[in-house]
Amino acid sequence: MTAGADLRSLRPLLLAGLGNPDRGDDGFGPAVLARLARLSLPESERIVCARPLDLLDHWPGRRLAIVVDAALGEEPGRLRRLEPLTEGLPRPASSSTHGLGLAEAIELGRSLGLLPARLIVYAAEGLDFSPGAPLSAPIAAAVEEAVARIAEECRG
């Protein structure tokens, strides 16, 4: 049995916002976490990080982790709900720090036994990832939808 499995009953739900708030729509995850912080939710641990690899320090021993991230896509603002441990997650051409994105972090977590029991990813398709840009209108509009759906998952 792994150390993670021993702790599983001890660590609360993890809510993680992935992204850089100074890089346009990449700030989607941090923006959703900031909104979730204002809600009264069941016990959870909330983190914001820009480097997906850092999630490996936070996943072990969780029954559930929810990661909120921005994604490259064709329809700006479209919110997707993914369960990558059962459905898989596409590995895009890298645009993340040092070529280690969320998909790579999940695969590393899988091979090292550092995954939560269940992982849900909310990903919104971004439009503008320019340095210093604010959230684009379609992504900003997706924040509320993501907050409502994640709050429901937490309470469910």
Binding site: T97, G99, L100
Partner: protein
């Protein structure tokens, strides 16, 4: 004669975006161009008009991997302009913070990005399947580095606790005590990492570089020292502009930094190690020798070994600093309200990082200049590529592309930092 093109669309396992274009003619590499197409970020322009107290937090945003380096060069340059020296325990804490960044940045590159090149594996995920214990160890080591940043910097990325004059908040004794325990384990893990990396097969490839790094009278350099080279250069940071010049080339959004007189030079772990081997402790020196390194290393592929030596050094140094630390009376020193101009160079994980600022009496930035290590190494990377590609021109294109990417990864280039940066196009005629 027909031109033959080989294109490498996007370099993998480097930070940022760019490409490489090689032009080949009669078995020779005519040109090797790193094409950097990340948009320029104009940090220097938007620092103008801001208060100098904002600079450490703004420049930390230039890089998610080496924010401490940007903060350290900034605060030292601004303090020089103010005519103050931050010494004693505050200086010690800054060096400790830098140790944390060297550990996490180097370990990320060594195990997650560079090691696959030597093990014949596609990526870190494949390494984690075949060398699980080593990857677990690396993650633990990286966590120790992160922990230093969290305790001293306030958080692990883009630290917020560094200010001109010192820090906003001092660490508590219990935080430092917990850090010491983690670093004692990290030091053992760093020895094991170095011994593992020493088993990697390494290509033979030496070049006669001009190495440039800081040199301090008694320490392995981080925050202070003269800018020196193995060919007699010895400058104070404020003389940086007199020796080096930046120019813009059409194929890249990054500026090229060269010696005014001698062209390319190399900054980073190899330069630091070669110019400062005598500043490592006898214990680290002996482990470097055990790993197969002499006091001078001119093989860029052995940079992975030198980075591992520096991780070991950073763990040892962090523990030494912790044993010496006595809390100061205040977390920062008072700052005079005077106009000024200041320069500083510090050793980012990837090499020398130069900053210059001019500010008015109210502390408003009038001019800022930032020369990151990857801009300084750009010309040297292209020269390595010319040499390395020429040796392997007879190989199939896919193999040649792999080799070129490996030669670039030797530098752990931080493309976003340099954009002020990677795809590969090979033109054969």
């Amino acid at each position: 004669m027909a031109v033959r093109k080989i294109s490498l669309e996007a370099l993998a396992r480097v930070e940022g975006e760019g490409s490489l274009e090689l032009s080949l003619h009669e078995g020779k590499v005519e040109t090797a161009r790193l094409k950097i197409f990340e948009p320029p970020r104009f940090f220097e322009a938007f620092l103008r008009g801001r208060a100098f107290s904002e600079v450490p937090d703004i420049v930390a945003r230039i890089c998610g991997i080496c924010p401490v380096a940007y903060q350290m060069s900034a605060v030292h340059a601004l303090e020089q302009g103010l005519g103050i020296v931050v010494d004693g325990p505050l200086r010690l804490l800054r060096r400790l913070l830098y140790c944390g960044e060297w550990i996490e940045s180097h370990v990320l590159h060594i195990v997650m990005l560079h090691a696959p090149d030597f093990l014949g594996l596609p990526d870190a995920i494949a390494i984690s399947r075949e060398h699980r214990a080593e990857v677990e160890r690396a993650l633990a080591l990286k966590r120790a580095g992160n922990e230093i940043l969290r305790v001293l910097g306030g958080r692990e990325i883009h630290p917020i606790n560094v200010r001109v004059g010192g820090f906003y908040r001092l660490p508590t004794p219990s935080e430092l005590s917990a850090l010491r325990e983690k670093l004692e384990r990290a030091r053992e893990e760093a020895v094991a990492l170095l011994r593992w990396v020493a088993t990697f097969p390494c290509p033979e490839c030496e070049r006669d570089y001009e190495f440039v790094s800081l040199r301090h009278p008694s320490e392995y350099p981080m925050n202070e020292g003269r800018v020196v080279s193995n060919r007699g250069l010895s400058l104070a940071a404020e003389e940086f502009d007199s020796a080096f010049e930046e120019s813009h080339l059409p194929h890249s959004t990054a500026l090229y930094c060269r010696f005014r007189e001698r062209g390319s030079y190399l900054v980073g772990p190899l330069a630091r190690y070669n110019l400062n081997f005598d500043r490592l402790s006898p214990w680290v020196q002996s482990l470097a020798r055990e790993a197969g390194l002499g006091p001078v290393c001119r093989n860029p592929f052995q940079s992975i070994l030198v980075r591992s030596v520096e991780v070991l050094f950073a763990c040892e140094e962090a523990l030494r600093l912790l044993s010496l630390y006595e809390p100061p009376e205040a977390p920062s020193v008072a700052l005079p309200a005077i106009p000024g101009e200041g320069h500083a160079a510090t050793e980012a994980p990837r090499g020398l990082l130069y900053h210059r600022y001019r500010f008015d009496r109210e502390g408003t930035i009038e001019e800022a200049r930032i020369v990151p290590p990857t801009s300084q190494n750009q010309a040297s990377i292209e020269e390595d590529l010319r040499l390395w590609a020429e040796r392997h021109l007879s190989e199939p294109e896919e193999s040649l592309r792999d080799r070129c990417e490996q030669a670039i990864r030797n530098y752990d280039p931080c493309i976003s930092c340099s954009t002020h940066f990677l795809r590969l196009v090979i033109r054969r005629s």
